[in-house]
Symmetry: C2
Subunit: 209 residues, 2 copies
C-alpha cells in the first residue's frame, strides 16, 4: 500500500517527523568527513551527507551547508582559509564519525580520537586511516534563495586513495574501499554490488562490465 503525503500534511507533521522524512527522500547519500583548520590553527572535523559531483574537467565537487545564520565552523574555516578535505568513512570508525557532529568547543579530532594526517604543504587536515582522502580549494559559493542554504564549490587539488580500490579504467570500487553510505540523519550502510552496466544505446542490450 502506498501512503500519500501532500504539502499540507508534510507541513502539519511534527517537526522531527518532517525532518526525518524529508531527509530520507533523496535516497542513499554520500558520507564524508570534512576536515578544516581555522586561521588560528584549531582543527575541525564534521560529517556531511551533502557532497556531490559537479564536473570532471576541471575536477569540481559541491558541498551544501545549512544557512549561515548561526556559527558553522566548517563553512567559516573554508571561507577564511579556502582549504578543506573530504574523507570517506569506513565501518571501522563510523561511530566516531557520527560523534564528530556533537557541539565540541575544541577540535573534534581530539574529542573523538580520529587521527589527523597532513600531506605535502596542504593546509587542512586529512583523516588518518580513511581509504579516500581529497584535498580541495574553495572555488565558488552560491546562496540558495529559497532557504539560505550555502553551496560551496571546491576544486579538487589532490586525491589519496587506497590502491586496492582503483580499477584500471579509473573508476573506484567503493565496496573494496569499505566506504559507508548514510540515509536520513543517522542510519549507516555498506554497499552491496548488484551490477555494473555497459553504456546504454538505443536498440543495444546492456551487458555486465
Amino acid at each position: 500500500m502506498m501512503k500519500h503525503f501532500d504539502k499540507a500534511s508534510i507541513l502539519e507533521a511534527e517537526s522531527f517527523y518532517r525532518r526525518d522524512l524529508i531527509n530520507s527522500l533523496s535516497g542513499y547519500k554520500s558520507l564524508n568527513l570534512i576536515g578544516t583548520k581555522s586561521k588560528e590553527g584549531l582543527t575541525n572535523l564534521a560529517p556531511f551527507s551533502q557532497v556531490f559531483h559537479i564536473g570532471a574537467t576541471p575536477p569540481l565537487v559541491g558541498v551544501l551547508f545549512r544557512p549561515h545564520s548561526v556559527e558553522r565552523h566548517t563553512l567559516e574555516n573554508i571561507l577564511d582559509t579556502a582549504a578543506f578535505t573530504l574523507n570517506h568513512v569506513t565501518e571501522g570508525f563510523y561511530r566516531q564519525a557520527h560523534q564528530t557532529a556533537a557541539r565540541y568547543e575544541g577540535s573534534e579530532f581530539e574529542a573523538t580520537g580520529i587521527g589527523e594526517e597532513y600531506y605535502l604543504d596542504f593546509f587542512a587536515p586529512f583523516v588518518k586511516g580513511s581509504p579516500l582522502q581529497i584535498g580541495c580549494k574553495l572555488e565558488e559559493t552560491q546562496v540558495i534563495k529559497a532557504n539560505g542554504t550555502v553551496l560551496v564549490v571546491g576544486a579538487i587539488e589532490h586525491i589519496w586513495v587506497d590502491e586496492k580500490g582503483v580499477r584500471m579504467d579509473g573508476s573506484l570500487d567503493l565496496n573494496a574501499l569499505g566506504t559507508v553510505t548514510v540515509t536520513g540523519l543517522d542510519e549507516y550502510h555498506l554497499g552491496q554490488k548488484i551490477g555494473r552496466l555497459s553504456y546504454p544505446k538505443p536498440g543495444r542490450d546492456l551487458v555486465e562490465i
Copy 2:
C-alpha cells in the same frame, strides 16, 4: 598503499579515466528516475545521481544538471512546465532505469517498458512500481559559474511511499523499500545496514536506535 593523484596528473589522464575517477569520488550516490512531460505531451524519463536534500521546512530538493549547452529534455521540460517527479529505483528494474539514459527520440517510458503512472492532477508522470514517488514543482534555478552546471531547486508537493518503508518517527527504511544506490557512472548497489545511531552530544555514549 595510498595512490596519489595531484591536479596535474588528473588533468593529464585520459578523459574516460578522469571521468570515471572523478565521478566516483563523492561516495555512494542517490539514484532517482526523473519523470517529465513536454508542453507537447511527450513524456521523458532519465536517471539522475545528483539529487540531494536542501531543506525540510519548507521541503526542498536539489538536482544538478550538466551545462545547458546541448539539448537536455529533462531540464527543458522542467523549465517549460515547472513539474517533475523523482522515483526511487529497485533491483527489479535498475537495468531499465540505466537504459533510459540512451538517446531515444521518443519517450523513454515506451522504449524501456517502464510504466507511467499519474496521480491527482499532477502534470508529470510517475514511475509505476517505484516504492517512493515524489512530485516536485520548480522553485528556483542557479548556474554554477565554474562550469555552467545548472542547479534546479524543487519544492516537494507530494510523496507516495510504500508504507512498509515508513517508520513511526518519519524516517524511511530504504533497505525495506529496496532502493538502489549508484557509484561512478554505471555501478549499482543495495544498502546493507550497519547501524542507526543516537543524536551525538559531547561526553555521552552513542547508542543504537
